[in-house]
């Protein structure tokens, strides 16, 4: 017998269920842990951004005026380490993924709530150790820690920084493990694999990379630390070791890590494009499987970082070919997103602006990736600003934009309040313009021969560097605007309904903010992903929309 349970407006939610510092620091609720992560990665993002500011200010002029060489080396190294390991890698998975995966599959929590909390503590411990290393004197090896400079010659805090990254890696491993087990075992009745939102598919693929790649960087950094401390080792040519082995092991993780950063972003974009087009995504299974394909191919392309490092030519040719192959699943996604927009009823709310920006920036970032994946052009472009521009288009233009888009989109669910739409669109536009102005000149600089990691350059490069610094200032201001109005909206924003966007996803079928166990009762899924009901039915939705439940 089927009964319709009328909506019961409830004021108890995960935010006001308990109060006090202890209720946050000892919480096992995935939503609260997501907020702990949100706060801490924002702090690390600000620190990383501060370093970026120093880099851009120094590069305003061709001479060294603001920073001297050793300081400059530390500043760009620390910018990279903080941004990669402490912002980009945990950004979307640990906040939005943590918050939404159980909600999207109709579960009460992740499979291992205690391990989830543990992962945040490990992240904080790793972060504190790294911050200690930075305050104690910093590190100047570049975020890549290439040997033998890092093992033998550098006079900076390599071991302490490495220890921080080593510790932080376990938080990433535990998050990935938790996601995989949750997606396998915690889906609500009727939530089959092909009814999963694409956000889940991309997080599944991301988690695979996290569990397969992160242990390799862990052991690599451990061996590097011992090598530096005990003057023995497998990377040091002085004792018969091979520094190229370090590069292989490092990039075996760190190239797939790029996909840890961008795959969750692609998941967010798939949600935004489908939902703000009010249309089922074009080619659901292609988009789903392309995530897995990127995860698999992503593990086979690390050698393209070694084209000019003395790797054999034949290995280079194979890695070049495989790197081109990754473009296929990436392009499948872009084409399917674009095809979804065709004849759709698109609404240009803030999240959608970020999504459309993502498609453009990711395409530019991806296409320029092919330039550096080609053996011959890479010889010219390797270690220039072209590479810097390329990966910033993916990491900032891709991951950061998707993160901001997702944050705005789910903000009503997370905070129970609406963000100010006008300010949201304004900031999205500023960020888009500032981003292009920052990194487009860097493509040209790199093509002209400006090497990365240098702070003194010939005067003819100055115009482009000034443009880039101007863009960075606009980008910085643009990024501060959401910080201000999102915090403002937590108290003064318009109260959000359970389903403010009128969407079919499970996370929208409960109140905003959700109760501690996410749903009043375990939902039974009888619809496909992105199955939009007729508009009049969507209008009927009250405070939150309950589903028809079968009771025995």
């Amino acid at each position: 017998m089927e009964t319709f349970v009328p909506p019961v407006p409830s004021r108890i939610n995960y935010l006001n269920a308990q109060y006090g510092l202890k209720s946050w620091l000892l919480t096992k609720d995935h939503k609260r842990i997501a907020l702990l992560y949100l706060g801490s990665i924002s702090v690390f993002f600000l620190i990383g951004g501060l370093y970026a500011m120093f880099i851009r200010l120094e590069l305003l002029t061709p001479q060294a005026d603001l920073l001297q060489s050793t300081t400059y080396n530390k500043v760009f190294t620390q910018h990279g380490i903080i941004m990669v390991f402490f912002f980009l890698i945990p950004s979307i998975p640990a906040t939005l993924g943590n918050f939404l995966i159980p909600m999207m599959i109709g579960a009460k929590d992740l499979a291992f709530p205690r391990i989830n909390l543990l992962s945040w503590y490990i992240y904080m411990l790793g972060g504190i150790v790294t911050i200690y290393a930075l305050l104690a004197g910093g590190v100047d090896t570049g975020w890549t820690f290439y040997t033998p400079f890092s093992t033998t010659f550098s006079n900076s805090y390599v071991v302490a920084t490495g220890l921080g990254i080593f510790i932080n890696g376990f938080s990433s491993i535990l998050t990935g493990l938790n996601f995989i087990v949750t997606i396998h075992t915690m889906r609500a009745p009727g939530m089959t694999w092909f009814r999963l939102p694409l956000f889940i598919w991309s997080h599944y693929a991301t988690s695979l990379i996290m569990i397969l790649g992160t242990p390799v960087i862990a052991i690599t950094i451990l061996l590097l630390a011992f090598e530096r401390l005990a003057h023995i080792g497998i990377f040091d040519p002085a004792v018969g070791g091979d520094p190229i082995l370090f590069q292989h092991l490092f990039w075996f993780y760190s190239h797939p890590a790029v996909y840890i950063m961008v795959l969750p972003g692609m998941g967010v974009i798939s949600e935004l494009i489908a939902n703000f087009s009010r249309k089922n995504i074009f080619g659901y299974s292609f988009v789903a499987f392309s995530s897995l394909a990127i995860a698999v191919f992503g593990f086979l392309v690390w050698g393209h970082h070694l084209f000019v490092a003395g790797q054999s030519l034949y290995a280079g040719m194979i890695f070049s070919f495989l790197s081109f192959a990754v473009a296929i699943p990436s392009a499948i996604k872009v084409f399917n997103w674009t095809a979804t927009l065709y004849k759709a009823s698109i609404s240009y709310d803030t999240p959608m602006l970020y999504a459309l920006g993502f498609i453009g920036l990711f395409t530019i970032g991806g296409m320029t990736g092919l330039f550096v994946a080609a053996l011959a052009t890479d010889v010219h472009l390797s270690d220039t600003y072209f590479v810097v521009a390329h990966f910033h288009y993916i990491m900032v233009g891709g991951t950061l934009l998707a993160y901001l888009g997702g944050l705005h989109y789910w903000w009503p669910k997370i905070s129970g309040r609406m963000y100010p739409e006008g300010w949201g669109r304004f900031a999205a536009l500023i960020i888009f313009v500032g981003f292009h102005l920052t990194f487009m000149p860097q493509f040209i600089l790199g093509y002209m021969g400006m090497p990365r990691r240098y702070h003194v350059y010939p005067p003819e490069f100055q115009v482009l560097h000034v443009l880039s610094t101007a863009g960075a200032s606009i980008l910085g201001v643009g990024l501060l605007i959401p910080l201000v109005y999102l915090i403002w909206s937590m108290r003064y924003g318009k109260i959000a309904e359970g389903n403010p966007w009128h969407l079919p996803g499970l996370e929208w079928r409960t109140q905003s903010p959700p109760p501690t166990e996410n749903f009043e009762y375990t939902p039974i899924v009888t619809w496909e992903a992105y199955e939009f009901a007729p508009p009049e039915e969507m209008q009927v939705v009250g405070k939150f929309r309950n589903e028809v439940v079968e009771r025995s």
Partner: protein, 238 residues
């Protein structure tokens, strides 16, 4: 709303956590979680296996000479000890599943004892290496790598040292895992003695067993790779 909870949450067993619908789902999640964790462990050891493979193929003579200075008898005894401990671990899981709870406690205790025997023998071996100045680099301050070895022509002492670094890195990391395993077994033993586990609720024992077997299997690979190099040539490849 009360009856809608009834269909999903068997509030029958005290071991069932609130976010699982039933014991079966909880067991499934725990087991899969451990398997995924073991995959990460394989990748973790994988980096060292790669380094071993690379340098063994690059410096085969030096590796054979170095390997022949390991104590094959102690290594073989330790292999037997670990295989035996896997048997007692499997028996502990089996006893829990069929509800023979006294046997479960005995087998868990035996597993811990065998694990400690392994670590003891390992400590004896490490000490021998210390006495012979075979500890690489400055790992032990004041006792640099300086063994009295007859090296065949063309074999560099540096490469012998590299073998010993890989040996200590791999067996050391394995020993760390053994210590963690013994810690887990001790916690299990404590709860088993209090009668926490039963045929309905045995997944902690089962899942910890998976970990224990994994650590054993790593050793099964380490023993031939590190101890048996060049033995088919009559024990003296050098």
């Amino acid at each position: 709303m009360a009856e809608s909870y009834a269909v999903e949450h068997e509030a029958s067993h005290p071991g069932l956590q609130h976010h699982f619908a039933n014991m079966e789902q909880q067991r499934e999640a725990g087991t899969l979680g451990m398997w995924v964790f073991l995959v990460t462990e394989i990748m973790f050891f994988g980096g060292m296996f790669l380094a071993y493979t690379l340098y063994r193929s690059k410096y085969p003579e030096a590796f054979a000479v170095a390997s022949n200075h390991l104590d094959i008898k102690l290594g073989a005894v330790n292999t037997a000890v670990l295989i035996l401990s896997s048997l007692t671990m499997a028996m502990a899981v089996f006893s829990t599943q069929i509800g023979r709870l006294r046997a479960q406690v005995v087998y868990l205790a035996l597993t811990i004892v065998l694990g400690l025997v392994f670590l003891g023998i390992k400590a004896v071996e490490y000490h021998e290496k210390y006495v012979d100045h075979l500890i690489p680099g400055t790992l032990i301050p004041g006792n640099p790598f300086n063994p009295h070895l007859e090296l065949p022509t063309g074999v560099s002492m540096r490469h012998v040292e590299m073998f010993y670094w890989i040996y200590f890195a791999m067996t050391g990391m394995h020993a760390v895992h053994m210590v963690i395993g013994i810690g887990i077994m001790s916690v299990l033993l404590y709860f088993a003695a209090k009668g926490r586990f039963s045929p309905e609720y045995h997944s902690p024992v089962e899942v910890s067993g998976l970990y224990w077997h994994f650590v054993d299997i790593v050793w099964i690979f380490l023993f031939p790779l590190l101890y048996l190099l060049g033995r088919h040539l009559g024990g003296h490849a050098g």
